[in-house]
Symmetry: C2
Subunit: 332 residues, 2 copies
């Protein structure tokens, strides 16, 4: 850890003033070519690097962007983060990441901490437990915020998200057209906006084809394995057992498949699955979900990053807006 090398030392060494050193390093025309050369030579020899904290302080910019998401270990979010990192890196920004673990307190603390750390903007995918939104209001007074995937819909905020309703509708339409019936929905937790959107697409499709909606076929899960096991068992216990399960996540489908197998059902024969995330490993399953909705998490992240870039770099003309990424149904 070498001692701090500042312009002051270069200036003293050369018998010139600090301002001359500063200008010489910027090739300022008012500095003589001889002096400029001398300064640059010594700076090179001493491996001078300007103190970024001083520059950030002076410019009131840090070129850091905060990202708050539920879990880094969830593939959806790590892919989104990767897209964010790529987009921001190109523009010279760094990514500061924090996990909310779906906890409101942690999320609020993370947003607060990012502000205190002096980021120039924040990307958020909301915790499922977030009921109080005031931490975003406070933060947005200081820096722009853009939501992605798990968004807060409000004219004040930009948001990037997938068209879940249409995705669910498309998946249902595909299944119905294929002649499948008895389609159940294993949906996410109530606290997520996507849950109601998914249900809407499910219901809309049934209505379009004049199929009655059986509320016993719609289950909201709470993300724990126990609950998944409970709900799939409830479905399998129904007199009119579903033939297709529309699951809101591959992992939910996998856990449900296990229960099915234990109960002697053959996957993709007695019962099939369609999922809302396209995890790469599913192609390796002997009996994968017959279709899946690809939500393009990388594009979600990178679009959100681009909105944030605009908000940070042209704050005067920037108007909050929403971008909808169309998911794609992938048939296996």
């Amino acid at each position: 850890m070498q001692a701090n090398l500042t312009m002051k030392k270069i200036a003293k060494e050369l018998g010139v003033s600090v301002s001359t050193v500063s200008r010489a390093l910027q090739n300022h025309p008012r500095i003589g070519s001889l002096t400029t050369e001398k300064v640059q030579k010594l700076a090179r020899e001493l491996h001078y690097q300007p103190n970024s904290r001083a520059i950030n302080f002076k410019n009131n910019r840090s070129f850091n962007v905060g990202v708050v998401l539920p879990y880094l270990t969830e593939q959806f979010f790590s892919i989104a983060l990767s897209g964010i990192e790529e987009t921001l890196m190109e523009k010279g920004y760094s990514v500061v990441v924090m996990q909310s673990k779906n906890d409101y307190e942690r999320e609020a603390a993370a947003v607060d901490s990012l502000i205190r750390h002096g980021v120039d903007g924040i990307l958020v995918s909301m915790a499922s437990e977030t009921y109080n939104k005031s931490h975003f209001n406070n933060a947005t007074h200081k820096v722009p915020i853009v939501f992605f995937d798990r968004v807060l819909k409000h004219p004040r905020y930009s948001a990037v998200y997938g068209n879940i309703t249409k995705a669910a509708f498309d998946a249902m339409e595909y299944l119905i057209e294929k002649g499948y019936s008895d389609i159940a929905l294993m949906n996410g937790p109530n606290s997520l906006q996507a849950t109601s959107e998914r249900e809407k697409g499910y219901v809309d499709a049934l209505k379009k084809y004049n199929i009655p909606v059986d509320i016993q076929y719609v289950k909201n899960l709470n993300l724990t394995k126990e609950d998944t096991v409970l709900k799939i068992n409830e479905l399998l216990d129904l007199e009119n057992r579903p033939r297709i399960i529309l699951a809101f996540h591959d992992y939910i489908a996998l856990d449900a498949m296990e229960v099915c197998k234990q109960r002697g059902l053959k996957i993709n024969q007695d019962i099939s699955f369609v999922t809302f995330s396209n995890l790469s490993f599913c192609t390796y399953l002997d009996n994968p979900p017959i279709a899946t909705v690809e939500q393009f998490p990388g594009e979600l992240g990178s679009s959100a990053a681009q909105l944030l870039l605009e908000a940070m770099e042209t704050p005067d003309t920037y108007e909050p807006r929403e971008i909808v990424i169309e998911p794609k149904l992938i048939i296996r």
Copy 2:
């Protein structure tokens, strides 16, 4: 985006000096309780937040830590990053993450960029293509560096990594004791240190049991699917086809399994796999690898973070050192 609220404004509003405001906010004993109360009240009302950039500048600390890793989308690294984030968050540090994509140039640029952004320390899992180490030498003059998983072994650097040799040895010993023979090794790329360590464990175990080493059984892969397909086909084409494949990653095993199935071999009957990463979804496979080496990426990351914390907070007494995390063989 409200205008910057500084101490100056509070001071002017109250007709006191900036230093009084500063001290009042710190409950300095030399400030009268009346003044202190007034200042704190107004600060609260105006939602005053100290300018972190000014404080960072003054203290020459940012409480940011840089993390450079190959890919965020690789589960191993996203779990490691999660462990890093948890450990550092507790101590008030934030994590700035960058992907090297296994490219030397990007890695060097990332390290450089982190230094310029003013991080207090750096955690690195090296790019497989990194041949030149000078970017680390330059960086370490400025801030401490700790390596994790893909480490640079050098007395100057701290490093945290798994005991791959022993893990490979243990896996082999288990297989040999179980009576398995004809065990092949699908290893990683030459450029990774872990590759030679894994090979050493493989060879050591064979030698211990006086089993001749067949070099045709040892393949080094380059991480592309084509190469994996090529190498598994070479193995299956051998006169003495292996019965067990020790694969250095679950995804390699999955790709190889596909080829095996295509060639009419039954997994876990005609041929079985043992892998070096314990990806959660493998438990959902109908025929998963019969054993797997858990490398505890979260612990790897969090141990590295703890070393870095020590290096950052007590730089005078800190001595670089290595921590070895013992992997665990998990039998399915």
